[in-house]
């Protein structure tokens, strides 16, 4: 919703910004400094997160400012560049960096507004760092079940099922990409396979198979959380290092501008 509104605002402003076309070079300098100030402020959000105790407004207030100023930065950027892709090497690099920053920011904004709901509506609420622990617990329990099945029944149906499907499935996070698009195909197929083999099982194994079914679902949900919580962390692996890169390019840009346009004047 807000994304759509944003797109609309940009759409309306774009021709205006293009028409503005560096009306006065000093205005470009002003908008440039303004943009730099905004970018520095946006970057300082990370600093605020580290300074937890001085009462520097709530983090949520900062995030709100971060979002709105981020949008403002896009608008100022549009005016600063008159909506045109520049032609110089350094300028193109800067333009690309800024665009990537904005894109990653918007992407992150989208992720933080959509993923939490999907997480809370599926599977156990787990702490990301503990996912390997739970995965291991599930694996241990599954192995226990398979051993029990081998001990108590003559058939090796479950053991074979374990060997051909479950061993791989349980060994690590699986179907990360499928989980990102919320597809449950693999787990469905696995459980379907297990149910299909139900008719060959004796009564004791059927009880074990039922628990296996639950455990597959559990592991699948765990993978779901792994994939999606991981994505929520991963995008910042781009957004935050990129901030530093952008800031350095900005400094180089400002030095150049002043050396060639304003130096000594």
């Amino acid at each position: 919703m807000s994304i759509a509104a944003l797109a609309l605002v940009l759409l309306i402003l774009t021709p205006y910004a293009i028409g503005y076309r560096i009306a006065f070079s000093d205005v470009v300098v002003t908008s440039g400094w303004l943009l730099f100030a905004v970018v520095v402020f946006l970057s300082s959000y990370n600093l605020r997160k580290k300074l937890t105790y001085p009462p520097l407004l709530k983090s949520s207030t900062w995030l709100q400012m971060h979002i709105y100023l981020g949008i403002a930065a896009m608008v100022i950027f549009l005016f600063h560049t008159s909506g045109k892709v520049p032609t110089g090497h350094l300028d193109i690099a800067l333009y690309a960096l800024f665009t990537l920053m904005v894109a990653s920011g918007l992407f992150g904004f989208y992720l933080t507004r959509t993923i939490p709901t999907t997480l809370s509506s599926r599977g156990n609420e787990v702490i990301f760092e503990r996912i390997p622990l739970f995965r291991r617990q599930i694996k241990d329990r599954v192995e226990q079940i398979i051993l029990q099945s081998i001990e108590q029944s003559a058939s090796s149906i479950l053991a074979e099922f374990y060997e051909s499907y479950l061993m791989y499935f349980l060994a690590g996070p699986r179907n990360v990409l499928l989980h990102l698009v919320r597809s449950e195909r693999t787990s469905y197929r696995l459980r379907h396979e297990l149910r299909e083999s139900d008719r060959y099982l004796d009564e004791q194994d059927k009880v074990l198979a039922a628990e296996l079914d639950d455990l597959i679902k559990l592991k699948d949900d765990l993978d779901f959380h792994y994939a999606r919580q991981g994505l929520l962390k991963l995008w910042l692996f781009f957004h935050i290092p990129m901030t530093l890169v952008l800031l350095m390019f900005l400094v180089a840009h400002i030095v150049l501008i002043y050396a060639f346009t304003y130096g000594g004047s």
Partner: protein, 606 residues
């Protein structure tokens, strides 16, 4: 762990563990001997009691044998500390005690000096935090200085009390150092009324002071079957506690009572206790056995009954429920100062037909109430109400009837389903049920996380850690209702059961805001508080010694690793309130006072 079924244990029985055996220190453990009992029955008040009035299932001798124990104190030992929660009363057998009303430093009672850090220090701390977890400065710990000061038996809490008294000898005779003579009973108010100890009592010697400690269950039964004791204690309560209880009720505070009406109210009001005082133990066992909690909770007033009085909650909590199908659904709860039955009573006074009680009130764990009998209500309170609000517009908050109050709170956002999950009503019956069932209603700063907003970034945890020498003081997991999580962070309960039985008083309420905090220095890591907390919000940690390259700290005497209880302190020594809530970028975390349902439902339904 993936274990679907928990084995069902034996149902605990009373007197499985006699009070005399209930010591963490083995040396003190002993059962009451026959000679002890004989001695006791020769003294007042036991010599005055009529054993025949006691039922066969609860004989007087068994009560005394199992619910009391004899304790010895040296001169200057603190028996009870001001601000403590206790569950027993004391009878002085030999020697004198002194009640110290004021003049003691919190540090002398094993508490932290309650001043918060400067802003500069807070910020500096962010950069000087230890790298390893749970690092402590061992030089601060008394056992490293002088092990005699710190007796791990815990019962005896050695402090410099005699010196304080000596420093001001003239104070002995003054009011703030009352001498409690031999044969007196003290501590009964805190034991029965679930309030903090109002004074510190020290053994005044000379030599050994012998006291009989009576735990509250025993005291209650003794009162029940012995009129003399009951009258005595009721008299004490009327003198000290009743007015205080009325003072906590907004309704009684608001209405205009004259001297005579007050006297009548104080004379006729009754004092009742429901549920078990150590409800957290019972609760934990019931939870383990997965029983329906609601049916286990004692009924205070039942739906459909004749309203036999106005109930004012004096301590604890009560759950309000209504019959629904074959069961009951919870739709609210009452806390201290709330009243129950007011609307029905008013209805009955003002009209001819008689309305029965509309909602069942149950003790959620434990509830202490003051009952104003219907007749007294009609003679005193109702006229006073009419006098205060002649137009009949009783302010909603005073109606307290809580039914109205909660109904409003719950229907604030009865917004239609618009495909938006957030528009749904979350503080309705299921949420109430969840809060009451898990006893979260006890919290005054419960950590609620909106999982629909939470991005699991752990900013809250890191913010917490940054203020506690790099140690988080909560875990971002916990019970979930719909998309709200009650995280594993100390709720700073209205009724802090964790404080019961702390041998050194290390866990206490802070001076300023009443937050429940632990003094790391005096904590002996016995785990009583962690085991008592029904919400699993206190954790024991192995501490490391910063002067020993962060190696685990070991008790030099016994070679055991030193353990400390830790929990959320609501950032009491920092500025700006709890860091977790301020650090949440998505406004997904709040510290909620469960007594303020309007605020709560607003947050839940935003």
């Amino acid at each position: 762990m993936v274990e679907v079924n928990t084995p069902v244990g034996d149902k605990p029985k009373r007197w499985d563990l006699p009070f005399g055996m209930d010591f963490t220190n083995e040396a003190e453990r002993r059962e009451m001997s026959f000679s002890d009992l004989n001695d006791l029955f020769a003294k007042e008040p036991f010599s005055e009691m009529d054993a025949s009035r006691f039922p066969d299932s609860l004989p007087l001798a068994s009560i005394v044998a199992n619910d009391t124990r004899i304790r010895l104190y040296r001169e200057g030992d603190a028996i009870v500390r001001q601000g403590d929660y206790g569950n027993s009363a004391f009878l002085i057998l030999d020697g004198d005690c002194r009640a110290i009303i004021e003049g003691l430093d919190p540090a002398q009672l094993g508490r932290q000096a309650g001043h918060s850090k400067s802003l500069l220090k807070s910020v500096k701390g962010l950069f000087t935090n230890a790298l390893a977890p749970e690092v402590r400065d061992s030089r601060l710990y008394p056992q490293h200085r002088d092990k005699a000061v710190f007796d791990p038996s815990g019962t005896v809490f050695v402090q410099d009390v005699p010196n304080i008294l000596e420093l001001s000898p003239e104070s002995y005779s003054e009011a703030r150092h009352n001498i409690i003579p031999e044969g007196s009973l003290f501590g009964e108010l805190a034991a029965l009324g679930r309030v903090q100890r109002s004074v510190t009592v020290v053994a005044a010697g000379p030599g050994t002071t012998r006291l009989l400690e009576i735990r509250w269950q025993g005291l209650r039964d003794l009162m029940k079957y012995d009129n003399g004791l009951r009258d005595h204690i009721n008299e004490l309560f009327r003198q000290n506690g009743l007015k205080g209880a009325f003072r906590m009720s907004p309704l009684i505070q608001a209405i205009d009572l004259d001297e005579d009406q007050w006297d009548q109210l104080l004379a006729e009001a009754e004092f009742e206790t429901f549920g078990s005082y150590d409800w957290h133990g019972t609760y934990q066992q019931l939870r383990k056995r997965d029983e329906d909690l609601l049916t286990q909770e004692p009924v205070v007033q039942e739906e459909g009954q004749y309203p036999n009085g106005l109930l004012i909650i004096r301590a604890g909590f009560a759950r309000m429920s209504r019959r629904h199908g074959a069961g009951e659904y919870t739709f609210g709860y009452l806390g201290i100062g709330d009243v129950h039955g007011l609307q029905e009573l008013m209805h009955n006074v003002s009209t001819d037909d008689h309305s029965p009680i509309q909602t069942t009130l149950r003790a959620a764990g434990y509830t202490d109430i003051v009952r104003v009998p219907t007749r007294t209500f009609e003679q005193v309170i109702y006229p006073a109400m009419m006098k205060t609000w002649p137009d009949g517009n009783f302010p909603e908050k005073f109606l307290g009837e809580t039914m109205e109050r909660h109904k409003t709170a719950m229907s604030t956002r009865r917004a239609s389903w618009r495909g938006d999950r957030r528009k749904r009503e979350f503080s309705g019956a299921p949420m109430m049920e969840f809060l009451a069932e898990n006893r979260y209603i006890n919290g005054t700063a419960t950590m609620l996380i909106d999982l629909d907003r939470c991005t699991r970034c752990d900013d809250c945890v890191r913010a917490c850690a940054s203020g506690h020498n790099n140690n988080p003081r909560f875990i971002r997991h916990g019970k979930i209702h719909d998309h709200h999580m009650i995280a594993n962070a100390c709720m700073h309960c209205a009724d802090p059961v964790c404080m019961i039985g702390c041998p050194t008083g290390a866990i206490h309420r802070s001076e300023g805001g009443g937050e429940v905090v632990i003094n790391d220095v005096t904590c002996i890591g016995c785990g009583t508080c962690a085991n008592s907390c029904p919400y699993e919000n206190i954790r024991l940690v192995n501490v490391r010694d910063q002067s020993q390259d962060d190696a685990l700290m070991v008790d030099p005497v016994k070679g055991k690793a030193i353990v400390k209880a830790t929990k959320c302190d609501l950032c009491v020594d920092h500025h700006g309130g709890p860091a977790c809530a301020r650090a949440c970028p998505h406004d997904a975390l709040t510290r909620a006072d469960m007594d303020d349902l309007l605020d709560l439902s607003e947050w839940l339904n935003r």
